[in-house]
Amino acid sequence: MITSETFQYQLQHVLVPLLRRWSRCYRLNIAPKDRVTAFVSQPFKPNHFLEIQIQYSSIYQEPQLTFRIWEIYTVDDVEYQRPCFPTDLSHWLNMQEFTVRLDYLHPSDRNVWYSVHGCDTAETVGSQLDHYLQRWASVYFTIFDFEFSRVFV
């Protein structure tokens, strides 16, 4: 578990620099300051991108990882983008043992997002607060990129 204050500090000082180094991340939004949104390309799924959000879950006292998938297509010279909900997420993500559900209603606009269930976070990440988000990201971001650990090199 991680306190809200430690999370916010590590979000800005640990996670954001990691995400900036992630080669697949091409857009980063840090607004509001307690939430980071990363836009990530999908090399094996051209014309799609992921919008990944990391914020604090005060219920679990853990980082909360949510995301949605966008599709880009063109009609009559107009480039459209729309959220898409593939039937089999395992073709899109490295699901491994993670529980991913389409059950997160975003508080700002009531839109539905995928959430990565965080009930095993404490076991997976350990209890030490130093470098907590670093360890957390090294585990959870493999869902989107098996080679995420390259950001640590």
Binding site: R21, Y26, N29, A38, V78, E79, P83, F85, V112
Partner: protein, 630 residues
């Protein structure tokens, strides 16, 4: 690179968050309506946190971007504007070059007072609220004096990055500054520029040694302030020392500088590097219930755009309605209320759907047969619009003149009905006998509720709103029973099938149902809601007391009948007796309708009528005898 024409990259990439479009949709429906004039936006461009995979900084727009208050978050604040067009055709036919030129000229002029205005953006958009597609095109004007050519004569990596970075940390909202000949840093302004030849700009590009096109704006401004200057040292500050750099730039002019002649660019290219608009399709994202919710509101809110801007939709939406009767009238009234946006509808009926019902009663289908009418009607309504708060109550409305057989049950039904009347704003009387309407009429008066009554004949109907109850009958509109000189009694005993069923031309029920709902909606638009005013109007037009329709002549009449002092249902003697004695009063009326006639004074009225009639007959007999004698 040295001696080359200076190259630039795109200023930034935009991303319009879904919350931006949802706020745009809300504003369009509720505030802007047909207003397509320019609206203010704000955003931030964060050059400190550009990821490795991006060639430039980003301009994020969210629901917080509307208005002129800087939105929260990191980065430099940027002012912008929105042009939201009413049709896709208007959006397409915008003269993009002219609009860009206007906005660039505006930024250029305003930047002469404050160079931070060199960085502006604007968005053109069209919100297709029916399909939830939002067309948009973002533009960040980049401009350069037409006569000015920029050539790089030298460049290199920045060695004293911290000096500039810390100045910008002190002035986090400044895009640029100047360095004087002593190496001091100062704000970029017309007054400060005279003895400076070094311009420092925060660069939104991440491409090695290639600044963003926004730098042209600042260099042009510098040249305007110091026309004689023919070279400049440019320092481009990025997120770290390794990517920041300097350039010596020759400012070549082929003719005299004209302050208003600018070369402009800035329309954003799409992901395939084409100059075309983009669209965000949110139809797949929204919760279907939310789409249904907003779509229902959409049709209603469109009325407010041109036809009835003052229409109060909230009062309709927040009105709870009790429908007594879930037959032909009840079903049609339920649907019409739903279409007007009423969100709480309760059905009361004690019947079951029969095989003859579905063809005339639109909330039932063949499979409904045998099921309780009230609950089935509510379930159908929920299938049509899941967000409606609706339920069905299986209840027999106690009827005057129908003696109490099972007091426990009938008292419980009475109490349930009373509570239902109390807890709703409007009561519709849609039953198929007169005596069923009596108790709800009394309850409506006692609880000061709006009561709308609809009744059918074979090819005629009456729709009326009962007068708002007060003890003073003089100025009150009448109720359904005000024209009767007898209290209602058991009209169902010893009736044949055709007398017990409502035998009407099928269209009559639709007409009565729709008129009764429209009458309610008009009434809700009146400032006093349940008014007794005569010949009054609302923003929807006339507000009649009652409408009678005659299908045989395809004619409707507006009528008004005043409250009758001896009415069996709404007279103060009846209503106050109910208020004083509750169930005991009701039980007495059920057991013997004459009790109500005595109480209201109808017995006296009848006696006087008898006497008057007797006098007439006696006079008649006398005249007849005299005639015979002749």
């Amino acid at each position: 690179m040295v001696g080359d024409h200076m190259k630039f990259t795109i200023p930034c990439q935009s991303f319009l968050d879904t919350s931006f479009f949802q706020e745009l949709a809300r504003l369009k429906l509720e505030v802007l309506k047909l207003d397509s004039s320019r609206k203010e936006l704000t955003s931030r461009i964060d050059i400190k946190h550009i990821p490795k995979g991006s060639s430039c900084a980003h301009l994020f727009l969210s629901n917080e971007s509307f208005g002129d208050e800087p939105q929260s978050g990191t980065g430099l604040p940027v002012k912008g504007s929105l042009y939201n067009y009413n049709t896709i055709e208007d959006f397409k036919k915008v003269d993009k070059a002219s609009l860009l030129n206007q906005r660039a000229q505006e930024a250029w002029k305003e930047s002469q007072d404050d160079p931070n205005n060199c960085v502006r953006f604007f968005v053109i958009s069209f919100a297709d609220l029916k399909s939830y597609k939002f067309f948009h095109w973002v533009c960040v004007p980049c401009f350069q004096l037409e006569s000015l050519n920029l050539k790089v004569t030298a460049s290199g990596t920045l060695t004293d990055f911290d000096k500039y970075d810390s100045w910008f940390d002190t002035y986090p909202e400044c895009w640029s500054c100047l360095e004087d000949s002593d190496g001091g840093l100062r704000n970029f302004s017309k007054d400060e520029v005279t003895d400076c030849a070094t311009l420092i700009v925060r660069d939104t590009s991440t491409i090695k040694m290639v600044p963003s096109a926004l730098v042209k704006n600042f260099v042009s401004l510098f040249k305007l302030f110091v026309p004689k200057l023919d070279s400049i040292r440019l320092i481009l500050v990025r997120s770290d020392a390794s990517s920041s750099f300097w350039m010596e730039v020759k400012l070549c002019t082929d003719r005299e500088i004209s302050a208003s002649a600018l070369k402009v660019s800035g329309w954003e290219r799409n992901s395939q590097n084409k100059l075309t608009p983009r669209a965000t399709d949110l139809s797949t994202l929204l919760d279907p219930l939310q789409v249904a919710d907003q779509s229902l509101d959409l049709n209603l809110k469109l009325m407010k755009w041109r036809i009835a801007p003052e229409l109060d939709l909230d009062v309709i939406k927040n009105t709870s309605v009790l429908l007594l009767g879930a037959g032909t009238l009840g079903c049609y009234v339920g649907r019409a209320l739903l279409a007007w946006g009423v969100r709480e509808i309760t059905f009361v009926d004690n019947g079951r759907v029969s095989y003859s019902n579905p063809v005339r009663q639109p909330l039932f289908v063949f499979d409904s047969c045998g099921k309780p009418k009230a609950a089935t009607a509510a379930e159908s309504l929920r299938k049509i619009f899941p967000l409606v708060k609706t339920r069905g109550v299986d209840l027999q409305v106690p009827m005057i003149g129908h003696p109490v057989m099972n007091e426990t049950k009938e008292q419980r039904d009475f109490e349930t009905l009373h509570e239902l009347v109390r807890s709703h704003d409007v009561i519709f009387l849609l039953m198929d006998s007169r005596e069923t309407r009596w108790l709800p009429t009394v309850l409506g008066c006692a609880e000061n509720k709006i009561v709308i009554n609809a009744a059918l004949g074979f090819d005629s109907y009456v729709v009326m709103r009962h007068g708002a109850y007060s003890e003073q009958e003089e100025n009150r509109h009448g109720c359904y029973f005000c024209q009767d000189v007898v209290a209602p009694s058991d009209s169902l005993a010893d009736r044949t099938l055709d007398q017990m069923c409502t035998v009407t031309r099928p269209g009559v029920a639709l007409m009565a149902a729709s008129q009764s709902v429209e009458l309610l909606v008009s009434l809700l638009q009146h400032q006093d809601r349940n008014t007794n005013e005569v010949s009054t109007k609302t923003i929807l037009g006339d507000l009649p007391h009652q409408v009678r329709g005659f299908l045989s002549e395809f004619k409707t009449l507006q009528l008004r009948s005043p409250a009758f002092k001896q009415c069996s249902a709404c007279s103060s003697s009846v209503v106050e007796a109910f208020r004083a004695h509750g169930w005991d009063f009701v039980a007495a009326a059920l057991n013997n309708y004459k009790y109500v006639e005595d109480l209201s004074g109808l017995t006296n009225v009848q006696a006087k009528a008898e006497d008057a009639l007797k006098d007439i007959f006696e006079d008649w007999d006398e005249e007849l005898d005299e005639d015979l004698l002749v």
